[in-house]
Amino acid sequence: MSILSISDLRVKKTAPSGTFELRIDRLDLAAGGRIALIGPSGCGKSTLLDLLALLLIPEQAGSFQFTPPAGSGIDLKPLLERQDLDRLGELRRVHIGYVLQTGGLLPFVSVRRNITLPLLLLGQPAQAEVERVAEALGLGDHLDKKPATLSAGERQRVAIARALIHRPALVLADEPTAALDPERADTVMRLFLELTAAIGSTLIVASHDVERVRRFGLQPLRHEFLPAERPRLTVARFAM
């Protein structure tokens, strides 16, 4: 069963250097799968993650269906067409966890509060679950510290904890180990995979580190640059 099913989708991003267009002809992501988006910088990995996280509104979508486990399919196309950010946010709140490359932590609250936020938003009890996940990620001693006092690796682990705390069906991670040294990167990636497997989430990781992704057994998503139809236009395509 597919958790995400997308067809004929196009997203455009305009920058001073030119226009970037991402195309997806057909993409079906199996529930519980472990996918890697591999490619060089600027190939659209982050754009695709934002799209799957329902943060980005595409210019065109033939179909865009999300099927949560133990639920019926939700047709996202109408929501995307009318740019209903609030309804898309509701779905993200319940079903999606997103680890940003920069961590995305709130600097003005403690690590504990950062991790707790998704559970608070769902009105679920947080205390025991936060401590359990924090212990699993080696953050037990840092719960009452502010993020600024942690190392880059610790901050990234806090971001992972926040993305997983509410047991989402879909976990997205944008270069989660990019800022870490190889040894720490392996540790964090291993923990990440173990925890997502434990909660049965579908995992999609964007990375430029082909070797590490293969080593951890993630299924790569095929990426290619298409011939540009006009100057200053870059077109990229992801496919299974």
Partner: protein, 407 residues
Amino acid sequence: MTFGRDLLMVSSLAAADYRHESRLSLCQVAALAAVLTPLLVLFGLRYGIVTTLREELRHNPTTLELRPLVQGSYGRSFFAELENHTGTAFLLPNTRFLAATVTLRNPAARLAAVDSELIPTAPGDPLLQHTVVSQLTTAEVVLSQTAAEKLRVGVGDELEGRLGRVVADRHETVHFPLRVRAVIPVALYARDAAFVALPLLLMAEDYREGFSVPDWQADGRDRAPGERLFAGFRLYARSIDDVGPLRDWLAAREIDTDTRLAEIGLVQRLDRSLTILFLIIACLGGIGFCLSLAISLWGNVERKRYELSVFRLLGLPSVSLAAFPIVQAGLTGLFGSLLAGVCYALTSPTINALFAEGLSANQVLCRLPVTAFLWAVVLTLVLATAAAAAAGWHAARFSPAEGLRYE
């Protein structure tokens, strides 16, 4: 339920961020207090000046007096109607001017007699309210300070009153004893005057007009039976705002009166002018405050783009997102107005001390009622929230995908 939970969470996060960036928050609070304090002082001055002038007028009973300029014939129904006027504080019939004099002598001293006005009084008389609270008998008198000084008498001393009349070409005089019940200060009545109970004044009028007065063993004609008419009255308004309506009421009955309306009008015009002036300055200050707060919040929202996008990433809806700058503006509004209140409390005593020479002991030039301050706090919160709503609307329109790459 979800909305309330989200709002509560965003409010607590906004407060945490406000505390985290305490220096910046303090600057915003100080900037607000810098705009609000002069407005509070200005309002304090407007209120203080007008209140002082109004109190001065109110505490001077002569301001509230309406004196009939001509003598008339006023009966019971006229007095009943005037008594029922909402603006009437004190009303007493008065006799003709001619009957209203008496010659006073101090039997204990070799001094010249003093011709004094004879003025009716009763409990509640604004001129006597601080000295006499109960009705005078026909053997008692309250003297003006000038009369008491000339007669060299004080409270409790005995006096002799004397009235003269001509009946059938024959000069007659009556003497009657009076005990001084009180002396009223020159500020309240500047001429020689004897305030007496109305029955004594009526006896004096009867005597002067040649009628018999049994109490003084004075023979004469008998007064015809029927309603007694009075030539005048003593009338005091309840407040300075009632003087005008009372004058108009009397003028409508062709009774001209002498009033202090010109002075009252001056204070009322000053009140209006200062209110308008205050409103203009308050509006300009308020607009400036709103603009500066809105710009500062707008900048703050731009600066917080990343964090607000993280809120969006976590699934917070637009309304909750907009609440973030609104809550912070509310905190700035609250702390800013409290700081302005403290600054005002430190400033106003200095202003009052500077002008203390021209004021009496219980008067102050700069005074801000607590209710006015509370209104200022409420208004500040409303304006701050309104200004923040624009920034909140801006925050709700951020593209979260762009915001998350903004750091």
